[in-house]
C-alpha cells in the first residue's frame, strides 16, 4: 500500500491535550454565540439608530416601574406585561431582541455546587463565561466569580489575592479557589434585607428582585463571601455582547442602585442545563446537580470526597462545597 504523502506530523498535527480541551469548550461557546448573533440580526437596523440616540441612560423610573409590586405578588398577567415591556425597552435601547423567561423551581430539586481544588488551575474561564452569560458590564467591571490564588498550605484569605496576573497558571506553590454566591441555606443577606428584596427559593437559589431592591447595601455588608455586587452606576453592556436568553430573576437588564449576584444561572439550570461557569471550565473542576438525586455527581462527591465549606463557623450552611480529589 502506497504510503500517504501527507506527513502525519503535518500542519494539523495532534494538538496538546489541553488545547484540545480548550477547543472543545470554545466550539461550544461559539455555537451558542452564533445563535445569539442570528437573533441579534433581527433587530440591528433600528437598534443602531436607537442606541446612538440613547445618550446617558434614563435615571427616572417609569410610572409602571415605580408602582411595580414585589415579584412574589405578581400575577401571571402582570409578568407577561412586564416581560414584554422590558423586552421592548431593551430592543429600543440596544436593538437586541431578548426573551425574558421566569422558569419556576423544579419540584423536588435542590441545587448544589462542588469545586475540585486539586484541579482548578486559575484560568478564570469561568469568570468570563459568567460575565457573558449574565450580561455583566465591563465598565464598570462587575464579575460574580472571584478566583483567589491561595498559598499552598493555607486557607487564609489574608495571604491570598484575586489579582494574580501571570503568564501561565497554575503557579507552583499556589492553588486556586473560585468564590461566588454559595446560595446559603442560612443566608445572612436574606436576614439583612429590610424590604425582602432577596430571598431563598425552594430549589435553593437565593434570588434578588432587582425591581424591589432599594440599594441600601446591607446585604453586601452581611455577606461573608463577598458574593454580592452593587451597581454604583448604570451598567453598560455592549449590544453585541448581550445574551438574549434572559431570566427575570437572573440576567435581565439591571439598573444603577440595585444589588445583584450569581444565581446559579437559574434561567438555564431550571431548564436542565448546566451553569455557564461549569461549561467553561477547561479542567472539569466544577460539578453541579440536584442534591436529591442519589445518582448525581454532586451527591457522589459529598458522600465520597472530603468536602468542606468556607466560613463554616458562621453557620451560613452554604450549598457550595470545596474538595481536594
Amino acid at each position: 500500500m502506497a504510503r500517504s504523502t501527507d506527513s502525519p506530523d503535518g500542519a494539523n498535527a495532534v494538538m496538546s491535550a489541553g488545547e484540545r480541551a480548550e477547543k472543545l469548550v470554545e466550539v461550544r461557546l461559539n455555537e451558542q454565540g452564533s445563535r445569539r448573533t442570528f437573533l441579534r440580526m433581527l433587530g440591528v437596523g433600528a437598534g443602531a439608530a436607537a442606541a446612538a440616540s440613547t445618550g446617558c441612560g434614563a435615571s427616572a423610573p417609569t410610572t409602571e416601574e415605580f408602582f411595580r409590586q414585589h415579584y412574589k405578588k405578581l400575577t401571571d398577567e402582570d409578568k407577561k406585561r412586564i416581560f414584554a415591556r422590558i423586552e421592548g425597552e431593551t430592543l429600543a435601547k440596544t436593538g437586541v431582541r431578548t426573551h425574558i423567561s421566569d422558569p419556576p423551581p423544579i419540584d423536588g430539586v435542590e441545587f448544589a455546587y462542588a469545586l475540585n481544588l486539586s484541579v482548578c488551575n486559575g484560568s478564570r474561564r469561568c469568570v468570563e463565561a459568567c460575565a457573558r452569560e449574565n450580561n455583566l458590564p465591563d465598565d464598570p467591571e462587575i464579575r460574580y466569580i472571584r478566583v483567589m490564588e491561595m498559598e499552598a498550605g493555607s486557607l487564609e484569605f489574608e495571604d491570598a489575592t484575586p489579582n494574580y496576573d501571570r503568564e501561565k497558571v497554575p503557579e507552583k506553590g499556589k492553588f486556586y479557589l473560585p468564590v461566588q454566591c454559595h446560595q446559603c441555606d442560612n443566608p445572612p443577606c436574606v436576614k439583612a434585607c429590610p424590604v425582602g428584596a432577596t430571598w431563598k427559593e425552594p430549589d435553593g437559589i437565593v434570588v434578588v428582585d432587582y425591581s424591589w431592591c432599594i440599594g441600601c447595601r446591607f446585604c453586601v455588608v452581611a455577606c461573608p463571601y463577598f458574593a454580592r455586587r452593587f451597581n454604583f452606576s448604570a451598567p453598560q453592556v455592549a449590544p453585541e455582547k448581550i445574551n438574549p436568553n434572559q431570566g427575570y430573576l437572573s440576567n435581565r437588564p439591571r439598573f444603577k442602585g440595585v444589588v445583584e449576584k450569581c444565581t446559579f444561572c437559574l434561567h438555564r439550570t431550571r431548564k436542565g442545563r448546566m451553569p455557564a461557569c461549569l461549561e467553561a471550565c477547561p479542567t472539569g473542576a466544577r460539578k453541579f446537580g440536584n442534591l436529591n438525586d442519589p445518582n448525581s455527581e454532586i451527591r457522589k462527591i459529598i458522600e465520597t470526597k472530603r468536602v468542606f465549606v468556607l466560613n463554616e463557623e458562621l453557620a451560613t450552611l452554604p450549598r457550595f462545597y470545596y474538595f481536594f480529589s
Binding site: D9, G18, A21, I106, S123, P140, T161, Y164
Partner: protein, 191 residues
C-alpha cells in the same frame, strides 16, 4: 410529581437547548465496563485523531520492537509518562495497531482507553466513572457527555498543560494600584 416533569423536560429541552444536542460527533460507544447513569455517553475519540485508523499506514509493515528514538514519523511522541520508562508498545499493540492493550494483553479500542489508563490510575478511573473527575458537558437533567482520558491528558505527556489566565479583576475605582505593587502582589511578596 417531579417524575412527570422529567418526562416533559426532554421535549422542553429540545426547544430551548442550543446545538449541544446536534453535536455530530456524539456516539454511544460500547463499553467494556458500565458507566453509571444511562444518560451519560463518552464522546467518540476516533474522529479527533488525525492519524486514525493507524492501519492505513501500518498495515503490511513489520513492527520494529527495538526501543529507540523515532526519527522519521511520530517524532513528536516523546514519551514523558511515569518513571518506569517504557516505549510505544507498552500500550500500543504491534500486531493489532488499531487497538491498545492492557497489562494482560486484552485488546482495548481507542474509545476505551480509560480502561488502560485506569489499570494504573484506578482511583482516577473510579472518580471519572462517577463523574467527579473530568469535564462533563450537556445537561444535569438530561443527556451528558464525558470524555475519555486522552481528550485532556495526552498519554505521551499527560501533565495537564499550563494555561494563560484571563485578565485579573478590575481594581476598585478608588484604589488603583501602582505597577510595582501589582507586580509584588503577583509574586506573592508582602510590601
Amino acid at each position: 410529581m417531579w417524575i412527570a416533569r422529567l418526562a416533559v423536560l426532554p421535549a422542553m429541552l429540545g426547544l430551548v437547548s442550543c446545538s449541544i444536542a446536534d453535536e455530530p460527533s456524539r456516539l454511544h460507544t460500547t463499553h467494556a465496563a458500565p458507566i453509571p447513569s444511562g444518560t451519560v455517553s463518552v464522546l467518540d475519540r476516533r474522529p479527533l485523531l488525525p492519524t486514525y485508523p493507524c492501519s492505513r499506514c501500518h498495515e503490511g509493515r513489520t513492527p520494529d520492537p527495538r526501543e529507540r528514538t523515532l526519527t522519521e514519523f511520530h517524532t513528536q511522541k516523546v514519551l514523558d509518562h511515569g518513571t518506569q520508562g517504557g516505549w510505544c508498545y507498552r500500550c500500543h499493540t504491534p500486531d493489532d495497531i488499531d487497538h491498545l492493550h492492557l497489562g494482560d494483553g486484552t485488546r482495548v479500542g481507542f474509545n476505551e482507553a480509560y480502561l488502560l489508563c485506569g489499570s494504573c490510575h484506578g482511583d482516577k478511573l473510579r472518580d471519572w466513572k462517577a463523574g467527579i473527575h473530568g469535564l462533563t458537558t450537556g445537561f444535569w437533567l438530561g443527556d451528558r457527555e464525558r470524555r475519555s482520558c486522552p481528550a485532556c491528558h495526552d498519554p505521551h505527556h499527560p501533565k495537564f498543560p499550563l494555561m494563560t489566565p484571563e485578565h485579573p479583576p478590575a481594581r476598585p475605582r478608588t484604589a488603583p494600584v501602582e505597577r510595582q505593587e501589582a507586580q509584588e502582589e503577583s509574586d506573592g511578596k508582602e510590601h
